[in-house]
């Protein structure tokens, strides 16, 4: 046997011995350590390769991502605009539904819906401008309401618009009826938009929270339209009448759609008022 054959035999024996020991489980801990190191090295190389690949391909991705981002932003703004429009429609629908409910619950009157399109330029007066006019059979003096209560009455009309005097206007006065106290009074507006009740008899007991309705006296407004509630009462013994501050049922700062009562014709009783000699 030459030396080369001897060397080959020894290598086979060593390898076979190692394999036999490994198969016998004698190299378990060493094999685990080796595989752990191997996995860590492989993980490190793979992640570095991934980072390198990102670095190489990033410019192309940034361009496409920017384009995609711009597209998505445009889509988002478009959807936001649609959302706002739909919210407005929902609000309008809710208001209209409430107004329809109101008109159904008060079938004795006929109504015409109108949108509020402006206010008086002077801060001293409380008028709104609506988008219905004489072309829609709107006439001066017609009462204007919402589902919450009385708003005011038509003061001036042109073909396609009308000006409405709110009950908060300083020149406005409404004959009212206090439901719980069963007495009449007059509701006045003011420059600052506050509403007060005057000419309440001293013999009557009025409580905060009492409901105020139109009385229909004077012919300016139909009866039984809700105006608001009494907030506080001012009673002074040396005065002829009591006064009260009122919380209107209608939020005049948020008027959007109103109803004009078109089958009511105001009565001008001025000629019937007694003339002082």
């Amino acid at each position: 046997m030459n030396s080369r054959s001897l060397q080959t035999t020894i290598i086979f024996l060593v390898v076979g011995g190692i394999l036999a020991l490994a198969l016998g489980g004698f190299f378990g801990s060493a094999s685990n350590r080796f595989s752990l190191v191997f996995i860590e090295i492989q993980t490190w190389i793979y992640t570095r390769y991934g980072a390198f690949q990102d670095l190489v391909t990033a410019p192309r991705d940034i361009v496409s991502l920017r384009q995609r981002n711009a597209d998505l932003e445009a889509q988002v703004s478009q959807l936001q605009a649609q959302l706002i429009e739909l919210q407005q429609r929902v609000n309008e629908t809710e208001i209209l539904a409430a107004l329809v409910d109101f008109s159904r619950s008060n079938p004795e009157s006929t109504y015409k819906a109108a949108s509020v399109i402006g206010r008086d330029p002077s801060p001293f007066l409380h008028y709104i401008i609506i988008n219905r006019g004489s072309n829609d059979d709107i006439r001066r003096g017609m009462p204007v309401v919402t589902n919450q209560g009385l708003v005011g009455r038509v003061d001036a009309v042109i073909a396609d618009a009308a000006r409405v005097q709110l009950i908060t206007d300083p020149a406005s006065s409404v004959n009212v009826f206090l439901q719980n106290a069963e007495t009449s009074a007059i509701l006045y507006g003011s420059v600052t938009g506050d509403v007060t009740l005057d000419l309440i008899s001293q013999n009557v007991t009025v409580e905060p929270g009492d409901l105020i309705l139109t009385s229909g006296l004077g012919g300016g407004y139909p009866a039984d339209l809700i105006i608001g509630q009494v907030v506080s009462l001012r009673t002074l013994e040396f005065e002829l009448f009591q006064q009260a501050t009122v919380q209107p049922a209608v939020d005049f700062s948020r008027l959007e759609i109103v109803l004009v009562i078109t089958n009511f014709r105001p009565v001008d009783i001025t000629p019937l008022e007694p003339v002082s000699p």
Binding site: D120, L125, Y127, T192
Partner: protein, 166 residues
Amino acid sequence: MRNIIAFPLLGLAVILQSSLVSEIHLLQGYADLPMLLIAAWALQDRVDSAWHWAAVACLFVGFISSLSWVIFAIGYFGIVYIARSLQKRVWQAPLLAMFSVVFIGTLFIHFLSFGVLSILGTPFSFSDVAGLITLPSLLLNMLFSIPIYTFMRDLSYWVYPAEVME
């Protein structure tokens, strides 16, 4: 001829006043856009049509408002007069002149309104009106006066272009 822009501009101003500016209120007061435009226009050096603009503004505001047009006529012509008088005295500080005209003009128009409402028998508490309407309106008018003055100055350069010296 370019002065004809007064009609669309003041018409738009009155529409904005009625629909937008009157919704931006501080307490019960809000700015007076047509008055600010008239004041800023009257303060421009090269402008000689401020009285005409005031008349157009009266026409539009008087049409839309239920307040007597006489108040606007006296008020706007008074503001042009005040602006013209101040322009000759504080011409080196145009913004100061604008603030002064807006301050005096707002008080002038509000006192006119007080007077007419009092004559018509409207009861009101002077302190309430001053605190809730006049002072907030004054503040808003002052705030709006700077951009409006700048806008009207640029507009005056367009309406009255400088003559080229040869």
